[in-house]
């Protein structure tokens, strides 16, 4: 049985004009010790999916309309708030995008690390302090012992993200959700943080969900990938398979938008972008949501009339499109 199994998750936000379908029928699972990457552009529902798992969506206006989230044999959508609180930080931990604002400026780094230890593991103040030093050393903060008493403003962005990782790891969670863990960091720091995450994941034998809009991060960190678009999963495969044989036009476009240092087409070339904008999730059309931006949608009327189902093209490779790459080739031949 997988560690985390999400089935048919729908999270809607109530607005004055109606429900915004931020996450619409999303299913995936994460095996123990593996890393799942969730990719997509801003507003595609990546973060809301993660927050739904954590039970941290802002209620109201958000609510989980249907679906199940099975974690380690527990149905998270049915848990009461007090039970969720015990789970958070201990079994499921989360790292947020912006380390500059994720630490409380009025509390010392030490206080913020020990907070979790004392809450979940019932450690005494002294034990927790000792453990906090170990954790800081584990995420490679130099002179951890002294820096425990520092306030966050004395830490750089990369160091703060390391502290966030230390806090997340403090109780040896089974699952770590990293929501854009490197987006707010300098490029030079990004790789270091990613490597650290991967190393610690292995050491602590955690499963991990990495949420990102950066295909490079996925390539580096993820075993399996879910590509989301407009609240839906449009493609799902192992990382190798996805980069090797992308099927969905959107995935192809995302990969095509990756900047390269030594582009075959020369350096002066402009960055590729995907024309158009994602659909309004307030009242999405009953059609393929990617159709307006899809270069292949004109081929028949099907795309603008009926929404394609997620289907398994190859074992483990799921696609929601009427024009996956492999079938296009067949048509052309």
């Amino acid at each position: 049985m997988p560690l985390l199994e999400v089935r048919g998750l729908r999270t809607y936000f109530a607005t004055r004009e109606g429900d915004v379908k931020a996450v619409d029928d999303v299913s995936f699972s994460v095996e123990r010790g593996r890393t799942l990457g969730i990719v997509g552009e801003s507003g595609c529902g990546k973060s809301v999916t993660a927050l739904s798992i954590m039970g941290l969506i802002p209620k109201p206006p958000a609510r989980i309309v249907s679906g199940s989230i099975q974690f380690d044999g527990k149905e998270l959508t049915q848990l009461r708030e007090a039970e969720l609180e015990k789970l958070r930080g201990r079994d499921i931990a989360m790292i947020f995008q912006d380390p500059m604002t994720s630490l409380n400026p009025t509390l010392t780094i030490g206080t913020q690390i020990t907070e979790t230890l004392r809450r979940h593991l019932g450690m005494s103040a002294r034990e927790a302090d000792r453990r906090a030093v170990e954790l800081l050393e584990e995420v490679r903060i130099p002179r951890a012992n002294e820096r425990l008493k520092d306030y966050p403003h004395r830490y750089s962005g990369g160091m703060r993200q390391r502290v966030m990782i230390a806090i997340a790891l403090s109780c040896n969670p089974k699952l770590l959700i990293a929501d854009e863990p490197t987006t707010a960091l300098d490029v030079t720091v990004q790789a270091g943080v990613l490597d650290l995450l991967e190393e610690l994941r292995e050491e602590h034998q955690m499963a991990m969900i990495v949420i990102t809009h950066d295909m490079g991060v996925v390539a580096e960190a993820a075993d399996d990938v879910v590509v989301m678009y407009a609240g839906q999963i449009v493609e799902q495969a192992s990382s190798l398979e996805l980069f090797d044989r992308p099927e969905h036009p959107y995935t192809e476009a995302l990969l095509g938008a990756l900047p390269s240092l030594e582009g075959e087409r020369g350096r002066e070339e402009r960055l590729a972008s995907i024309p158009g904008r994602p659909p309004d999730l307030l009242d999405p059309p009953a059609a393929c949501l990617f159709a307006p931006r899809c270069p292949f949608a004109g081929l028949n009327d099907y795309c603008s009339v009926e929404a394609p189902e997620l289907r398994e093209l190859r074992p483990g490779h799921w696609v929601r499109s009427a024009h996956p790459a492999s079938e296009r080739a067949a048509v052309a031949v």
């Binding site: 941290l56 604002t101 994720s102 630490l103 400026p105 809450r119 520092d150 990369g158």
Partner: protein
């Protein structure tokens, strides 16, 4: 010496940069929030002077009655209306009581009531405002509409009614009277702070590690409102002291023979032509305290909430 603000900023920048670097060498002197605040406060000369004058007033109020050879309540008509002299630095009143001693005692009461009522106002404001802001939603809406209704209550008539409800008007009755219709703004200030603070990422991060609501409120939200609240206390203080002085002046204050500055001024009102010092001295004391509080509040705002400074 006035510190060049640009130099100051540069120093801060260098401190954070070198402190934040991965390979920072020698340990760097800790700059705590409060020390930083103290540096900024010191840069405001008016606030420093006001702070000194305020302390002077407090020292006078605390020690003058202890050191004074006169009984502040002993009536001796032979000594009535003494002018200012070495033996009576502020003269005597109509009963021959030493005004230097009585003004200090009155100051204890005025300042005491002022601070007690301000703290009560802030306390109620914290309680009401933090519940309203933290819970949010319908409860927040209901509590705020209730507050809107209360805002219509006139402050002084309500204070007067309270003083009339009790047999004797003592210290605590005055505190209640001054608090009962003046905590609404405090509640709104706290609510606003809590609402804006609870959207912070670190609150979400705290929730993500399973922190419970009282921990989030007590550890992550309220301490962050402290700076604003301290400033609020000193901004609120003059109004409260003035309110107390007014009630005492119209004879609704603390019962004689005890006196506050307001009732001392009232004593002097009847004879203001013959003995103007009797009304002038308590008035100056009130003005002294209020001005000090305003300048201190100004300095504290610069010191504790530096964002407002960047204009």
């Amino acid at each position: 010496m006035v510190v060049n603000p640009q130099q100051e900023e540069l120093r801060e920048l260098v401190l954070t940069r070198t402190g934040g670097g991965v390979d920072a060498g020698a340990p760097i002197r800790q700059t705590s929030l409060w020390r930083d605040a103290w540096y900024r406060y010191r840069a405001n000369r008016a606030a420093v002077i006001a702070g000194g004058l305020f302390l002077l007033l407090v020292v006078y109020v605390v020690f003058a009655p202890i050191l004074s050879p006169y009984d502040p309540y002993a009536v001796d008509f032979s000594q009535a209306y003494q002018p200012i002299s070495w033996s009576h630095p502020l003269g005597t009143d109509q009963y021959g009581r030493d005004l230097f001693t009585r003004t200090a005692l009155g100051g204890r009461i005025s300042i005491g009531i002022g601070f007690a009522a301000t703290i009560a106002i802030t306390g109620i404001g914290i309680l009401y405002g933090s519940i309203s802001g933290f819970v949010g939603g319908r409860l927040d809406n209901g509590m705020m509409r209730f507050l809107d209704a209360l805002y219509g209550l006139p402050y002084l008539p309500f204070a007067i009614i309270v003083t009339q409800l009790f047999q004797t008007v003592n210290f605590w009755v005055m505190v209640i009277a001054l608090t009962i219709a003046s905590w609404f703004t405090a509640a709104r200030v706290v609510r606003g702070q809590i609402i804006s603070l609870k959207e912070n990422d670190y609150v979400r991060a705290a929730r993500a590690v399973g922190a419970r609501w009282y921990r989030i409120l007590g550890r992550h939200l309220l301490p962050n409102t402290l700076g604003v609240l301290i400033v609020f206390v000193f901004l609120e203080l003059p109004g409260v002291i003035l309110g107390e002085a007014f009630l005492s002046f119209i004879g609704l204050g603390i019962n004689p023979p005890k006196a506050s500055w307001g009732s001392l001024a009232q004593d002097g009102r009847d004879v203001y032509l013959a003995h103007p010092t009797m009304i002038l001295i308590p008035s100056v004391a009130i003005a002294w305290l209020i001005l000090c509080a305003f300048f201190i509040a100004d300095g504290l705002r610069d010191a504790l909430d530096p964002r407002t400074r960047e204009t």
